[in-house]
């Protein structure tokens, strides 16, 4: 098992290098740079602009820039964000937790809603209920997150005025304890719902398929033939095995939990890592952009590994080699 994990991690290295090369290359393709963007406002002299470009290393050739970056990255130093004037890792650490709060609530909602409904749909395949939830699932998958978010803001914050327009806390409030939690909840409920609703569909369908596959297995038929009640058959025999593939989804959700939701965060004005990354594009904050992209890439790979490991833990039939 440990061998396997070490080998997988070693295998990740070339992939990470490949990803960093691609991202680095396309980032340097973007026209405009931080210093020129800044110079406009401050009427700097040409000399000062050039001096700053040197300090920030804006004009260095791509390969030098990349080598510098990778040299630092090995030591977990991803450079300083231009706009935040702080190490990229610190910037990510600052903002990722706001994203995580929302994503975690969304993920919990998703699990709590999608799995039970998926099971119900599978046990009553082709019933009216199944149809109904299938439609709901597909509706969720088909809704553009920005549109759903906007509609919800329009309805709950603008028309009904029962939820705030944006942000994480009521500004100027000094709530503590329960009051704080309640206030926070009021702010995060809409974005969390958006995130949950657009992904509930696929998890529901996934659960449904997993359960259906199991139900068709011979051992279930045997259990039924034995005369066991349907409840026992489903919940004792079928469900346990059906949940195995679902467990792996937890691993695959890792990036979704930490990488932030660029569009949803922008719409709801949440200071999360996704919104910061979007700002970094418009401000040409390359170190932050690069650091963030790599952060997501590594999360994706780690998520895949985690899901494989989880699979092996949950399902004794799977041998990692």
């Amino acid at each position: 098992m440990w061998n396997y994990i070490v080998r997988r991690i070693l295998q990740m290295i070339p992939i990470i290098i490949g990803v960093s090369l691609i991202i680095f290359f396309i980032i340097t393709l973007i026209p405009g740079n931080f210093i020129d963007a800044r110079a406009q406002g401050s009427h700097m002299t040409f000399e000062q602009v050039n001096h700053l470009k040197e300090l920030y290393g804006v004009n260095e050739p791509i390969h030098i820039k990349y080598l510098k970056w990778i040299k630092g990255a090995v030591k977990f130093d991803f450079g300083d964000s231009f706009t935040h004037q702080a190490p990229v890792s610190k910037v990510i650490d600052t903002f990722v937790w706001n994203s995580f709060t929302i994503a975690a609530i969304a993920f919990l909602l998703e699990l709590l809603i999608a799995i039970p409904i998926g099971i119900i749909c599978a046990t009553r395949q082709y019933s009216k209920l199944d149809y109904f939830f299938t439609i709901i699932a597909l509706v969720g998958i088909s809704l553009p997150s920005f549109f759903l978010g906007l509609i919800l803001i329009k309805f709950f914050a603008v028309d009904l005025k029962i939820l705030p327009l944006a942000g994480l806390d009521t500004p100027g409030s000094n709530y503590t304890g329960f009051q704080f939690l309640f206030d926070r909840l009021k702010h995060v409920i809409l974005p969390a719902f958006v995130l949950a609703f657009i992904s509930i569909g696929s998890m529901m369908r996934y659960t449904r398929t997993a359960v259906l596959e199991i139900i068709r297995q011979d051992y279930i038929r045997t259990a039924r033939a034995k005369g066991l009640s349907e409840k026992v058959v489903i919940y004792k025999h079928a469900l346990r095995n059906a949940l195995i593939p679902i467990v792996t989804l937890i691993g695959l959700s890792l990036p979704a939990l930490f990488a932030g939701a660029i569009i949803t965060e922008s719409i709801f004005g949440i200071p999360g890592i996704g919104k910061i990354a979007l700002d970094a594009v418009s401000k040409r904050d390359y170190p932050l952009l690069m650091g963030f992209s790599m952060f997501v890439a590594v999360l994706t790979l780690a998520g895949n590994l985690l899901s494989d490991i989880l699979y092996a833990i949950v399902d004794p039939r799977v041998k990692l080699k």
Partner: protein
């Protein structure tokens, strides 16, 4: 029964050809132009006939080669239909459907010319003036023009006759199917699919959307880019069914054009994904070994690229490459396609790996069947269902990605509409709160389109999956 359909279709086709003698373009204060006028005056100026005989001299220059093509296709279809009614030949029926479709496509292409006014569908109206040295010069004119009844009727009649012929064809096929006992996997899947009500609804919605988006503009009296700030931000009403946007453009018209973009993006992206993904996945799966290993690492790299950040960065890059707004959409397609293929590659590879283990492949091996033959006859047909299902669902994803990108201002650029950049109007908070007609319809359009695609995809998945049989 089929014969009745065919005769009816034949009559409709005749009518649609006769549409050419009806007005295609109407002008204020001037006599209308018929389809025949437009064709016979290709690349020649015709003086518009002035009703009141007081206005300035306007000339019209037709550029409507597509209209001529449409007529030719229609005539061929007419011939084929006569042939088929006389001799009851199925092949000519198929050919007729195809030629009518071709006629419609060329007619639809005609409608993509959207620069300034409705008249530009078919040509340009110019104001002729005498210059100082006595020569005649031409200026773009502001004369108000609208599409005539003929242009509209043509679309309706063509579509109807095509539907009738298709109906006849399906009835014939169904009769054949119920007569014979041979059930191919395809016909079984088809049956399964038809029984799925949601999938049928989805398919119907998609067909309707295609018709609306590609032929709808001919029924609109407003053109895509023509602005009129005096009528900006008007609410829905009789003049503008869905209101106007911030620059006074008709929202319904823009919706239809935006829909063309979304639908095109969906299909082109998926074709790209299939071309790259299936090829790479197929090669990796079939040859295996080191090649497979290498290709799969490439796939891994692409799969680990964070989709939205990379798309956003590429969107920013695109704005520097001197990409004109009209052409930007192709880059959007390329970006989404290039980032989307690895999923397809994985899927195809997995399918091929499992197929290679099947007994019949062993048998094929033992019989010494050629590689090409093995791939073409045994592997590909078995992979196609997987690809079709994945591709259909990918269409929905591609449309969503494009709309998100355009919403962020990095996709299709103004003034050309896409559903995503139409929703962008919400950035004006007052439009967001008070004038929901500006941004809700495009949002709903995205939703309905993707939902319909997903209905179909879901239906196809069930249809091809033998385990899902009821």
């Amino acid at each position: 029964m089929t014969r009745f359909y065919k005769v009816l279709a034949l009559l409709l086709l005749m009518f649609s050809v006769s549409c050419y003698s009806m007005p295609f373009l109407r002008f204020k204060d001037y006599a209308a132009l018929t389809g025949i006028d437009l064709i016979t005056n290709l690349n020649r100026r015709i003086e518009l006939e002035n009703l009141a005989r007081t206005a300035q001299i306007h000339v019209f220059r037709s550029t409507s080669t597509y209209l001529l093509l449409t007529l030719i296709f229609l005539l061929i279809a007419l011939g084929l239909m006569i042939c088929s009614t006389l001799k009851d030949c199925k092949k000519s029926l198929d050919a007729a459907i195809l030629t009518i479709a071709a006629a419609l496509v060329s007619y639809g292409l005609q409608l993509t010319n959207t620069e300034t006014s409705v008249a530009d569908f078919f040509g340009k109206i110019l104001l002729s003036t005498k210059t100082g040295n006595g020569e005649i010069a031409y200026k773009p004119s502001e004369i108000i023009a609208a599409t005539g009844i003929g242009a509209r009727l043509l679309v309706v009649l063509c579509l109807l006759s095509m539907a009738l012929i298709a109906g006849a064809r399906i009835i014939a096929a169904y009769e054949k199917y119920s007569d014979s006992n041979i059930k191919t996997p395809w016909s079984m899947a088809m049956r399964q699919f038809v029984r799925n009500r949601l999938a049928i609804i989805g398919a119907a919605i998609i067909i309707l959307l295609i018709i609306l988006c590609f032929f709808g503009p001919v029924f609109s009296n407003y053109s895509l880019l023509k602005t009129n700030i005096l009528t900006a931000k008007e609410g829905p009403g009789m003049e503008h069914l869905l209101g106007t946007d911030g620059s006074g453009r008709d929202i319904l018209t823009r919706l239809m054009y935006g829909g063309r973009i979304s639908l095109t993006v969906g299909f082109v992206v998926v074709v790209l994904e299939i071309l790259i993904g299936a090829a790479i996945g197929g090669v990796a799966g079939y040859y295996g070994g080191r090649l497979d290993n290498m290709l799969m690492r490439v796939v891994d790299i692409f799969l680990s690229l964070p989709f939205l950040p990379v798309v956003i960065i590429l969107g920013a890059v695109m704005s520097d490459l001197d990409v004109s707004p009209q052409r930007r959409i192709y880059f959007v397609m390329l970006i989404i396609g290039v980032l989307g293929w690895p999923m397809m590659a994985r899927l195809v590879r997995g399918q091929i790996l499992s197929l290679r283990e099947q007994e019949y492949m062993l048998a094929a091996e033992a019989l010494g069947i050629k590689d090409r033959h093995k791939i073409m006859r045994h592997l590909i047909p078995n992979v196609i269902p997987t690809i079709i299902v994945a591709a259909t669902l990918a269409v929905g994803d591609a449309i969503l990605s494009e709309s998100a990108l355009s919403f962020l201002g990095l996709g299709v650029a103004m003034p050309f509409p896409s559903w995503g950049n139409m929703v962008q109007a919400v950035r004006d908070t007052n439009d967001f709160m008070l004038r929901s007609w500006i941004w809700i319809p495009p949002g709903i359009s995205i939703f309905i389109t993707v939902l319909a695609v997903n209905f179909v995809g879901d239906g196809l998945r069930d249809a091809f999956d033998p385990k899902m049989k009821r």
